[in-house]
């Protein structure tokens, strides 16, 4: 058996890093730290994408997620209690069900590749993936690309409409009520 190539080593490095930091997201005491763990997980996935030959997509994923996670960290500091992680935090519900669902989905998805016959037509190496993607984006798949752009534009409009305080239907806080200072009783529906 020959020594593992550097792509194999890097692959397992990124894979283990992505999964471990992904797990740490939901075990971190601070939500800001959780956001940065998620960013690390995404960066590892971006590394895997680059290893798989999708350099452009991997880099886009990392850049996009860097921005998203910074926004997420700011949102955390704005809204959440205990953003600094000074106290241990474990805010979960239906824990058993979640663990069972996660393990079941992992087993189902991880066993599947070994029991079915996967197509094995690897990309020709070297493949100019970025140039091909550019041609595809501005060629045959332009409609798809434009649809994605219009979807993002609609998202911008929808987000502004949802978060503006005064809208077409009056003040956003009209009819809302301040919560009581003491812990409100959880009544069952």
């Amino acid at each position: 058996m020959n020594a593992p190539s550097w792509t194999t080593v890097l692959f397992w490095f990124f894979a283990a890093g992505g999964v471990i930091t992904g797990y740490r997201v939901f075990r971190a005491d601070s939500m800001v730290r959780a956001a940065f763990f998620l960013l690390a997980s995404f960066a590892a996935t971006g590394g895997l994408l680059v290893l798989l030959g999708a350099e452009f997509l991997g880099m886009v994923l990392i850049l996009m997620m860097a921005g998203e996670m910074l926004v997420m960290a700011i949102i955390m500091v704005m809204y959440m209690m205990n953003p600094a992680g000074l106290n241990p935090m474990f805010m979960v519900h239906q824990h058993r069900t979640s663990v069972i669902a996660a393990v079941a989905s992992f087993l189902a998805l991880a066993v599947l590749p070994f029991v079915i016959t996967l197509p094995a037509r690897a990309n020709p190496r070297p493949v100019a993936a970025t140039a091909q993607l550019g041609t595809e984006l501005l060629g045959d798949s332009m409609l798809v690309f434009q649809t994605a752009g219009v979807t993002l534009l609609a998202t911008i409009v929808g987000t502004v409409a949802l978060t503006s305080r005064r809208g077409r239907y009056g003040d956003a806080e009209e009819g809302s009520k301040e919560p009581p200072l003491e812990e409100e009783a959880m009544e069952s529906p």
Binding site: T7, A15, G18, V19, Y23, V25, F26, A34, A35, T45, L48, L49, L52, A54, L57, V60, L61, M64, M72, I75, Y79, M81, M91, V92, H93, S98, V99, A101, A102, V103, S105, F106, L109, L112, P113, L118, P119, A120, N123, P124, A129, L133, T135, E136, L137, S141, V144, A148, L152, T155, I156, T159, L162, T163, R165, A172, E173, S176, P179, E184
Partner: protein
Amino acid sequence: MNLQAVLVVAAALFAIGVYGALSQQSLVMLIMGLEMMINAGILAAVGFWSLAAGGNPQGEMLVIMFMTVMAVEMALGFSLITNVYRIRRADITEKLRRLRE
């Protein structure tokens, strides 16, 4: 590095995402779980594109659509969280028992 290994890693990420989306009380952490599931989808799609699709660039288009969905989901999720926080002063799912009050 073969397709099975990529898919197993994607399955692990997806399972962590399922756990997060189902178990977290905080709305933002819930969104993190959803993002991680889409991330697993991206990884699996690129794995298929790279190792099973023979270099068809339309596979990468699919991944770009995944990324669009990710951005849309996060932006709309955050605007909804902002609204919920403004109206109910709530940031966890348990406080949203009733849709209308």
